[in-house]
Amino acid sequence: MGQILKYILKNGLRDKLYIGLFIVLAISFAVSIFLGSTMMVEQNTSSVAFVLAISRTVVVVGMILFVCINVSRAFDNKEIEFILSKSISREQFILGYLGGFFIANLLILLPIFLVILSIYDINYLGLLFWFVSVLLENFIVISFALLSSLILKNSFSAILASLGFYAISRLMGMFVMGIDFNDNISAMKQGSIGFALKILSIIFPRIDLYSQTSWVVYGDWNKTVLFIILFQSIIYLPLLIFMSFHDFKKKQF
């Protein structure tokens, strides 16, 4: 399993993931500082908000692309068959891949955390919560990207599915709010949209609560939200991993 982990990390180097993301992040830092400086007041606070939001999005999209392209290429090159021909179980294979992706993600996020910590005058505990929350958010998205790559095989479909999953999960706050709105929408059949939204809210995680910029800017985190994030991750991550186990176990090569 350790070998797979190293292999994935080296894949990151081969695919120029680290250098590519660092260049994009450096540009986004510069753009954020520029945008922040154009504000009438609160220039620094605004620049921090832009940096956090842009870097979060860049890293999520970057990791989705990396995971989906990597797994699909492994299928195409018969790398998966080669690895499975060794004395390694399919569960170990999945865990090795996930571990590699998680560490790669941590390696990318850690410098962002340190740079923000050293440059800006912010709420430090808020930044720590933000960092852990972004890590958990990325772990969920990475696990889903791996699962969709295993199921769909085609990298393009897997990328679209993962981006869709992330967007819907981030919109889940509005969907949950929409369940209550439904009775006021006269054009809709009573309860039908609410029911559909309720089903969606059962399946998708509440990623809209993760990594709030206001934690870092104002330090106004809510303990309930932090607990929801923690328990949501504890439940949803294994769910995706077990689903991957199940799918990969049934796969025939």
């Binding site: 504000m39 009438m40 832009f50 509005m174 709030q212």
Partner: protein
């Protein structure tokens, strides 16, 4: 004739591919001409159509804000403030504030307040930028926003109430409105608020010519200081005594007994 027609029909049915092969360039040439004419008609019909050039677009609804935020209100707030701050930038210079739709400005400010009530960005824009409109009627929208924003927490927002008082007195020249804001301002119990926030109703009343009310406000402050309820520095006390003496002289000239205030 009939034979000829049948032959032609047979030819089309049986050798359609051959027909297409022989005449395709002509068919597509005619298609090209038809689409070209259509494009000319389309241009004629849409020639006068212009994109909406609202200086201030309508503010987003609460549901739209929730959807646009993707769960992170703070970044949406900062992005929208940036957009709001630069409204009126038509890429050929800035438009005069008197041409803005201030009803929409007010709606934007209240919508942005729903995303973040702690930031100084929106009240700053209202007080220092949008209050500079040459159309004095616009100031009522600015004052309405500042009133609503500050009333949520007067202790935290006393500065914006002072700005509202200042705008109402100096720019709108509506002393009744200025007194309304000054009275609200004087209710603050913030530790960082200077003593003049409590004296403000006296200054506005004095400007209005209501020396009696001005006298009463300052006298109350001095009484509070003497009873130990409020600590006031010696310099401030001297100023207030000087202010009261001035008012007493004014009242004396009017043959009015200050005890009746």
């Amino acid at each position: 004739m009939i034979l000829k027609r049948n032959n032609f029909k047979d030819f089309i049915v049986r050798d359609f591919k051959l027909f297409f092969y022989i005449y395709s360039h002509k068919i597509f040439f005619w298609f090209f001409l038809v689409t070209f004419v259509l494009q000319i008609f389309f241009w004629k019909l849409t020639e006068k159509y212009r994109n909406s050039s609202d200086l201030v677009p309508p503010s987003p609804s609460a549901r739209m804000l929730k959807a646009m935020s993707f769960g992170d209100n703070e970044i949406l707030f900062r992005s929208l403030v940036l957009r709001f701050q630069n409204s009126g930038d038509i890429f050929a210079g800035f438009v005069s504030l008197k041409n803005y739709d201030y009803k929409r400005i007010y709606e934007w400010m209240t919508a942005l307040d729903k995303l973040n009530q702690d930031s100084r960005l929106v009240p700053s824009l209202a007080s220092y930028y949008f209050s500079l409109s040459q159309n004095k009627n616009h100031l009522n929208y600015v004052l309405q926003y500042l009133d609503e924003h500050s009333s949520r927490d007067i202790d935290k927002n006393w500065w914006w109430l002072f700005q509202a008082t200042f705008i109402a007195k100096k720019d709108l020249q509506d002393l009744d409105k200025a007194l309304y804001f000054a009275n609200k301002l004087s209710q603050n119990t913030a530790k960082d608020a200077p003593i003049w926030t409590h004296q403000m109703p006296a200054f506005i009343s004095n400007s209005k010519g209501d020396s009696c009310l001005a006298f009463k406000v300052i006298k109350n402050l001095i009484d509070e200081s003497q009873s130990g309820k409020r600590q006031i520095s010696v310099e401030e006390m001297n100023f207030m005594r000087h202010f009261i003496n001035d008012i007493l002289i004014k009242l004396k000239k009017q043959n009015f007994n200050p005890a009746n205030c």
